[in-house]
Symmetry: C2
Subunit: 210 residues, 2 copies
C-alpha cells in the first residue's frame, strides 16, 4: 500500500491527520505539485484527475479523494472510530465533512486559484487544459468563507465537536479548511469564541502536525 | 422521521432513488423552492443552509446533505448494500460519489445558475444574500461537464458500474447528474457507447422514477 502525498497541500493533510489518529503508517510517495509531477503520465495512470492524495492498494487499485481513502482505513481499522459511532453520528459526520468540502474547501480554493498569479491559468486543480482565473469568483469565494466561518461558530456554540460529542473526520476536515483559509489571509474572527476554543483543542492534538 | 423534499430538484432525487432501492418509505414534506419556502424561518431552523433534502429524525435531529441521509439509511437498513460491500468497494463508492458531486453536479449547477435569468441573483443555492451570476463560470461549468462525461466513458469502458461490479450510490449519483445536465442542454455524447449502455441500464430500474 502506498500513499501519494504532497506535504504542503491541504487535501492530503486531512488523510495524514486521519492516519495519525489511527496510528496507521504506510509507504508515502511525495508528488511535487510545484514542479508538476502530478501532470506526468506515471501519475496520470494512477489518477486521471491528477490530484493528490491517492492510495494505491497492493492489488494495484488506486483510490482517489481523501475522504474515500479515509473510508478505506476506517473499514480496515475501525478503532478509534472517526467516521461515526452509530447511524445518527455517522450521518452527522458525513454532513459536516461535506459542509467543510463544499462550503469551506471549495470557497478557499476559489478565492486562492482565481486571484493568485501562480494559478492564473490553473484555476481548477489537475485540469488537463488551461483554465483561466475568474476574478469575480475569488470575491465570491471570500464571501463564502465568511458564511462558512459563521456556520462553524453557530454549530460549535451548541456542541463540542462538529458531529456532536466526539472528535471525528468532520473536525479534521474543518481544521484543514481553517488552516487553508490562511492562504487567502482569512482567520477565524476574534469574536468567534466557540470556534477558537474548538480550534485550539483540535490543532493541539499531536495528529495536527502530520 | 420526515424527509423534506422537492420533487423537481436533482439533489433530493438521489435520496429518493436510494430509498426506493431499499424499499424505505417515510413521511415526505414538499418544500416548494419555486415559491421560496426553503427561505422561510420554519425551514431555516431545520437547515440553516436552506437547501433540500433534509431528514428530520424522531428526536428532532435534522440531517442535511443527501449523501449523509443515504448514510443514515445504509446504517439502519444495510440490505441491499448501496454504499459498498467491502473496504475497497466502500472506498470506490465514496470516490465516485464525490466525482459525481465535485466534477458533475457542481459543474452543471455552475452552468445553470450563472446563465439562467431565473437565478441571476441566486447563483449559489440557499444563500441568505444576493449572489450575482458570473457568466464566465457558466462557461467553465460547461467545460467541466465535458471532462466529467469523458471520465464516465473512460471508467464505464472498464467496469459495468462506477464502483465496480455492483450497482451503488455512485451510479445513482451519476444518473442524477446526467439527467440534471439536460437542464443546460447537455446529453451524453452519442459516441460514448459505454456510458449510454450504463445509462439505459440504471435509468430503467424502477427506482429511477422515484
Amino acid at each position: 500500500m502506498k500513499l501519494y502525498d504532497y506535504k504542503a497541500a491541504p487535501s492530503p493533510r486531512r488523510v495524514r491527520i486521519f492516519m495519525a489518529e489511527k496510528g496507521i503508517e504506510v509507504e508515502t510517495v511525495q508528488v511535487d505539485l510545484m514542479t508538476g509531477e502530478h501532470l506526468k503520465p506515471e501519475f496520470h495512470v494512477r489518477n486521471p484527475r491528477r490530484v493528490v492524495p491517492v492510495l494505491e492498494l497492493d492489488d494495484g487499485t488506486c483510490i482517489d479523494e481523501g475522504v474515500a481513502i479515509c473510508r478505506y482505513f476506517e473499514a480496515i481499522q475501525p478503532e478509534p472510530p472517526l467516521m461515526g459511532t452509530d447511524p445518527k453520528n455517522q450521518a452527522l459526520v458525513e454532513s459536516w465533512v461535506r459542509h467543510a468540502d463544499f462550503d469551506g474547501f471549495l470557497a478557499v480554493a476559489d478565492a486562492l486559484r482565481n486571484s493568485s498569479p501562480a494559478f492564473s491559468t490553473r484555476a481548477l486543480p489537475g485540469a488537463d487544459e488551461p483554465i483561466p482565473a475568474i476574478p469575480a469568483l475569488a470575491e465570491r469565494g471570500q464571501a463564502s468563507i465568511t458564511r462558512y466561518f459563521n456556520r462553524l461558530e453557530q454549530r460549535l456554540a451548541q456542541v463540542p465537536f462538529l458531529a456532536g460529542d466526539t472528535f471525528s473526520l468532520a473536525d479534521i476536515s474543518a481544521l484543514c479548511v481553517v488552516d487553508f483559509a490562511k492562504w487567502v489571509k482569512r482567520n477565524v474572527p476574534e469574536a468567534h469564541s466557540h470556534t477558537l476554543r474548538w480550534y485550539e483543542q483540535v490543532s493541539s492534538r499531536p495528529s495536527a502536525a502530520a
